[in-house]
């Protein structure tokens, strides 16, 4: 088996053919599938703008950050693009527990010929940097400040990376690519939805060449996604049901924007709901179990109102039922 470091993109793919976007662009791709290449999800639907942004990252070595609310499929989007290009891809969750040493590498005690010796073990950053790998930092805005400055050095294109305790300077592999996903644009937890999101150093944000925003899709797209995920709803009756579900989700999102709700339905929740409908055969029950119970008690009657509008059914939490028959 060849080392991944020796791989090179060896063919060009037409963006029109692979991603269905009307453009003449050609994108470099690998013909060999390494272990690090993600699995292809055949029913994944690409958002054209975000896809182009990510492709620019692959083609022209741009640093691309995908920003958007949770459950919109930001990381999956990058992964699926990589999967179709056979480009090795490594995802790293920048939660609060990733330390500098994890990223850069550290001295560790290893056994060599029966002897205990300390040896430097490369962290994920130097490893990826020397290989044709798309490195994806997930939850970029949850990373700790001290960690972020490690990343800052490799954000520069062709930026050399110095391993100080090794006295080595690493040159990035020409097909190393860097991506990030984040819920906020580095401004911290403004709406109270993303606890743990850090306010990012502006010098950091400045080094990202492209910031693509993946927001909730148009209703038609979202319906198609849910139907693709839950095949039992793929018929016309299913379409009606899913359309109403997406309408509820849309109301929760606007209700959230208006400050009425503190939770909102992501596309992922809609899919979960649809899957639960498959299990329980009852949209109202499935809705309660997949979303309503995540909401604050005080907000449930309003969610029940949204549900009534779209399904013409009462939830248990509805004001109609709680206030007695006369009201």
């Amino acid at each position: 088996m060849t080392d991944i470091a020796d791989l090179r993109p060896d063919r060009m793919l037409s963006v029109r053919e692979v991603f269905g976007i009307d453009t003449e662009l050609q994108v470099p791709a690998f013909s060999e599938r390494d272990d690090h290449v993600p699995e292809v999800d055949a029913v994944y639907r690409f958002n054209p703008d975000v896809t182009l942004a990510i492709l620019a990252g692959f083609m022209r070595d741009r640093r691309v950050m995908v920003q958007g609310l949770h459950g919109t499929g930001k990381s999956t989007h990058i992964e699926q693009v990589a999967a179709r290009l056979n480009w090795p891809c490594v995802r790293l969750n920048l939660d609060g527990h990733i330390s500098r040493l994890d990223l850069v590498g550290k001295d560790a005690v290893v056994l060599r010929e029966g002897q205990q010796v300390t040896e430097f073990q490369e962290g994920i950053v130097p490893w990826s940097l020397q290989r044709p790998v798309a490195l994806v930092f997930d939850e970029y805005d949850a990373g700790r400040p001290d960690v972020m400055f490690v990343i800052q050095r490799i954000l520069e294109q062709g930026g050399k990376f110095t391993l100080m305790d090794q006295n080595r300077v690493l040159r990035p592999h020409p097909f190393f690519r860097l991506f990030a996903t984040a819920n906020t644009v580095g401004l911290g937890n403004l709406n109270g939805l993303y606890h743990g999101a850090q306010r990012l150093n502006h010098a950091q944000i400045d080094r990202w060449n492209i910031v693509a925003s993946l927001n909730y899709l148009p209703a038609g797209e979202e319906i198609a996604i849910v139907q693709a995920r839950v095949p039992s709803l793929a018929d016309e009756a299913g379409r009606q049901l899913v359309a109403s579900m997406v309408a509820v989700a849309d109301l929760t999102r606007k209700g959230f924007a208006a400050g009425d709700l503190s939770t909102l339905m992501s596309p992922r929740t809609v899919i979960t709901w649809a899957e639960n409908v498959e299990i329980f055969k009852n949209p109202a029950l499935a809705f309660r179990l997949s979303f309503v119970n995540k909401c604050d008690d005080a907000e449930r009657p309003l969610v029940a109102e949204y549900f009534q509008r779209c399904f013409d059914q009462e939830l248990k939490e509805s004001h109609q039922l709680s206030s007695g028959s006369h009201e």
Binding site: H97, S99, D146, Q240, A243, S244, V246, A247, L251, T252, K254, G255, A257, A258, G259, D260, A298, E299, P301, L302, E305, Y306, F307, Q308, R309, C310, F311, D312, Q313, H319, Q320, S323, H326, E327
Partner: protein, 583 residues
Amino acid sequence: MTDAPAPATASASAMQRRVRQEEQVAELCAGVVRAFSGERDLHFRGRRLHRGRVALPWFAPHLHPSPETDDFASFRGVADGLALRLTVSDAALHESLRPEDPVERMLFEMLEQFRAEAMAPDVMAGMRRNLRHRHEQWSLAFHHSGLTDTARGLLLYAVAQICRARVSGQQVVEETEDMLEATRFHLAPLIGHALAGLRRDRADQAAYAVHALAIARTVATMLHEAGEDSSDAHDPHVDDKRSVFMLVADMDREIVERFTTAESGRSAVLDDAGGAYRVFSDAYDREHDAATLARKEVLAGHREKLDRRIAVQGVNIARLARELRALLADPTRDGWDGGQEEGLIDGRRLAQLVASPTERRLFRTEHLEPVADCIVTLLIDCSGSMKEHAESVAMMADVFARALEQAGAASEVLGFTTGAWNGGRAQREWVRAGKPPQPGRLNERCHIVFKAAATPWRRARPAMAALLKADLFREGIDGEAVDWACARLRQRPEARKLLLVISDGSPMDSATHLANDAHYLDHHLRDVVARQEQRRDIEIAGIGVGLDLSPYYSRSHVLDLAASTGNTIFREVIDLMAGRHRR
């Protein structure tokens, strides 16, 4: 008072329950309108939809349900109608097309609303049903009130039914279908062409308006003719009912105040003075420390009574404090947590590593502590009518002060009343001066500090009991008190400032009312609150004791002190502080 007549209390609490029901319904409806239209600052104030501080037009007659006669589904239908109207109808275009004649204008307005309702999305089955339900309710109410017995009423009713059926593609209301036949037959040649266009052009407001205007003009002419040669226009009985449905031109912006729940209005005197509020004499204004208002023994007795009441309520203060902390506190960096297995290296522990190399707890992490950099002021209306609620209010204030202290937030408990009834010395001075006209506020203002921010709850305990002192409760001058409380808040260093005004009514001072005009003080209160809200450094909310204070405060909530048990009251106040009630 144990010998108070029980039925009165029961009906009062029933009334309060009803007001609260109404408030919940309005809150839910407004929530749906906001979510559907995507506009965040829509809310009901005094039963009318507002965008921010601006009242929206009245819209069509069927969008004004009455809580007494209409059911919840009807309110839902109205909310959906309003939401659609705001979403699919261009208000500026509508305004520019609106005819001059009041009757025509009403018809045109109604037709535009029908168009908006016909645009309800297909996926929202419940919304379509609500709209239909509201239409039937309104139609039947109209019919059963006897309005269809008159020629004009029947004509108007028939036009509404036929046009809505046409534009929405739904059936006319079954019960009255036969009754319409003659009118329909009569109308067909006159408006048939325009009717046909209604459904075809329903997606295009401007094109639709051409047909709608034609119908409005034709029907208005017919109505005028019918009105002139029939005598029923002068029948007071019919007139009365007609006003219920607002058949004619009273959809303009001026008639807002009639529907507000707390009594309020504009003061001509204050308007003439350009809003400049006057105080006749401040020589007798006092600010008291509550502890000095009664003898120690009396306060101790009151305190005992209050403590018993609090014990009976069974309030979980620790839990309340936790909720308040969650609401008010922000995590703040506060030192370090040492001895961690990961984090930043703690230099002081390196020696330990040398001594025992297996020791791994060498790191430290930042320690975050929720700190409530916040002050909450409770401003209590101590006017006469509040006397019966004094115990509940005192209990609430006391528990809140304690819970806030546990949550690490500061609190103030303030009260306002007057030093005398009917103006006292200030009024006598005014009489001696020869009763100059429009003297402004005419009473001895009395502000009471029950608990200052700097006083710990434990030390303020006796003073808080002064709230039970019955002879304290006289009249109330709310506007000045709000200004006073805000000024005190601004002197405090805390970053976040909340003011909760607890009151059961409009400002009341008979001397001022008599010497100026009836709405002098409440007009001033509205001005003060609007001004203070605009500065945005203090969050102001009104807690109405059995009364809707929404005409004064943009955030308010009705509290049912008689029916609720302790914990619900606090839950509701916390919701109000969290901004979950937003009227």
